[in-house]
Amino acid sequence: MTRADYTVPGLTGALLALLAVHPFLPGWALNTIGLSLAVGLVVLGMLVLKRAGLVSFGQGLYFGLGGYGAAMAGVFLGVTDFFLLCLFGVLAAGLVAFVLGFLLSRYRGIFFAMLSLAFSMILYGLLVNSAALGSTDGFGVAPPTYLGYDTGGGSRLGFLLYGLTCLLSFGCAVAVHRYLASTMGYIGEGIRENEVRVEYLGTSVRRAIHVKYVMAAALAGLGGVLTVLFIGHVTPDDTVYWTRSGEFVFVTILSGTGNVAAPFLGAILFELIRTYALQYAPNFWQMLLGSTLLLVILFLPGGLWSVGRLIRGRRHGGA
């Protein structure tokens, strides 16, 4: 007997709610939601990898490639269209992931984690040391146009950017949800549990991991584009530096992998706490992150989403 799956209706409800409250929320709230959804996208990609047993400590690489891809398309190619910018960002991230995936798909565990970190630091070094790529100052990003429609330099918190961000997040969440229920999704679970058996069933573990890696990169790239459009600026420190990747890992563990909605919930919680912490106690922010991470690992290894499961009292596979 399978439990009824309320994920898609739940996500739809959330989408409609988010869209509906737009006129009523203050600017900072819209900003937080937008940035949280972008982080949620990155963590959604990491959820796919974590289901397969892998943790990437370097998603900042693709988050940054997304942001820089969009920014540079604007600065060097004069692109302003929202959809084209997203395409540039996602392609930049996806192509690099495709190439790096040939090496990374051979590794697991600690190696996979630290190699991904290393690659993100390589990009960081390249960006910081090259004036043509903006060095530590990065690039400014103008508000986008939408298929020709120009908001006339209007606020970044206008309905179009916010609404499209919500829509894209919804779309990706639903797509990943379907993916996880497909054969590839089950292969991911299999890889986590027993790679030997997966190979003996007749499918390539490496190829599957390669695909998942590119997926996660594309999602992170999209998150990067959206973030950069909300903030209006992209720098290496905000996107590619290891601290950003570390934050993504934190949110992944905090959220748990039980459901595609978990990353977004974890991301919103994270953004809210971060805003307050950086404002009132900036020298305690890392301690707070570290302590919370320890507590979650010790006492709630399935992340926040598993609280829902505990309440419902049912056990279901897939941590």
């Binding site: 229920a181 679970e189 030997v196 069933l201």
Partner: protein
């Protein structure tokens, strides 16, 4: 008709000789028991045939086609499947999901990524497999929490998914209590009979071997020391010395 053949197989791990010039052929639909002391080379043989290990020298042929050096998954796709001494299952998935995943993977070379795996038809087929191997009662249990006998059956059930032509069972009854052994083998052999496969099973329990094997192959120190009808092999002096022991105790 010869379905699986090994010619001149050699494999050493440092000073340990696991395979010493193995030459053997198996015919379609044979049921062969493979016996030998621990370390005699039986599992190494299975590992080489199924692509997990590469022989140092020698060839393996499947229906006259050389398959030495192919990967495990390529060999699986050709129809050579195996079960494991330690059951290789997905511990944190339910028994049903284990079989479902196996079916999904076996179904297509390129795994689907959009259509849900759990369709009514595939679920029905998975349920049928659980029934056939008498593990339907464990449908929703975590595979990692199963008793050993059920684990073995699940392992074998997963091995049989897809088009199986040759099935290698590595110690299918090891770790199972004496009363349960025959039940389990009965279940397995009944399921396999319907499927028309060549079965090679490694066994330490001579009663199981006597009961099911049409032919017995005995390994010792990486070499085959006897090969023939069960009666002949089990009474062979060398086999008695190196494998079974001087007397065969029969249950009343």
């Amino acid at each position: 008709m010869v379905v699986l053949e090994a010619r001149g197989l050699n494999k050493s791990f440092g000073a340990v000789v696991a395979a010493a010039d193995i030459n053997i052929a198996f015919r379609e639909r044979e049921v062969v028991g493979i016996i030998g002391a621990n370390g005699a080379g039986k599992t190494t043989f299975i590992n080489m045939v199924t692509g997990y290990l590469k022989p140092d020298t020698g060839t393996i042929l499947y229906r006259d086609r050389p398959i030495t050096g192919l990967t495990s998954r390529e060999i699986t796709r050709l129809g050579i499947h195996r079960s494991f001494q330690v059951p290789q299952i997905f511990a944190e998935l339910t028994v049903f999901d284990n079989v479902l995943a196996a079916l999904g993977i076996a179904a297509a070379i390129r795994p689907g990524f959009w259509r849900p795996l759990r369709t009514p038809e595939l679920s029905a087929r998975a349920d049928a497999i659980l029934e056939r191997y008498h593990i339907a009662d464990y449908h929703d249990q975590m595979a990692g929490a199963l008793p050993q006998g059920v684990r073995k059956l699940l392992d074998i059930a997963m091995a049989m998914v897809g088009d199986t032509s040759v099935l290698l069972l590595d110690e299918p009854t090891s770790g199972i209590s004496a009363d349960e052994k025959m039940n389990e083998m009965d279940t397995v052999m009944a399921a396999l009979k319907a499927a028309d496969v060549t079965v090679l099973f490694v066994e330490h329990d001579m009663e199981v071997v006597e009961r099911y094997a049409q032919r017995v192959v005995a390994f010792y120190d990486g070499a085959i020391i006897a090969d023939g009808a069960p009666d002949a092999v089990l009474n062979d002096t060398d086999v008695r010395t190196y494998v079974i022991g001087p007397e065969l105790h029969r249950r009343a």
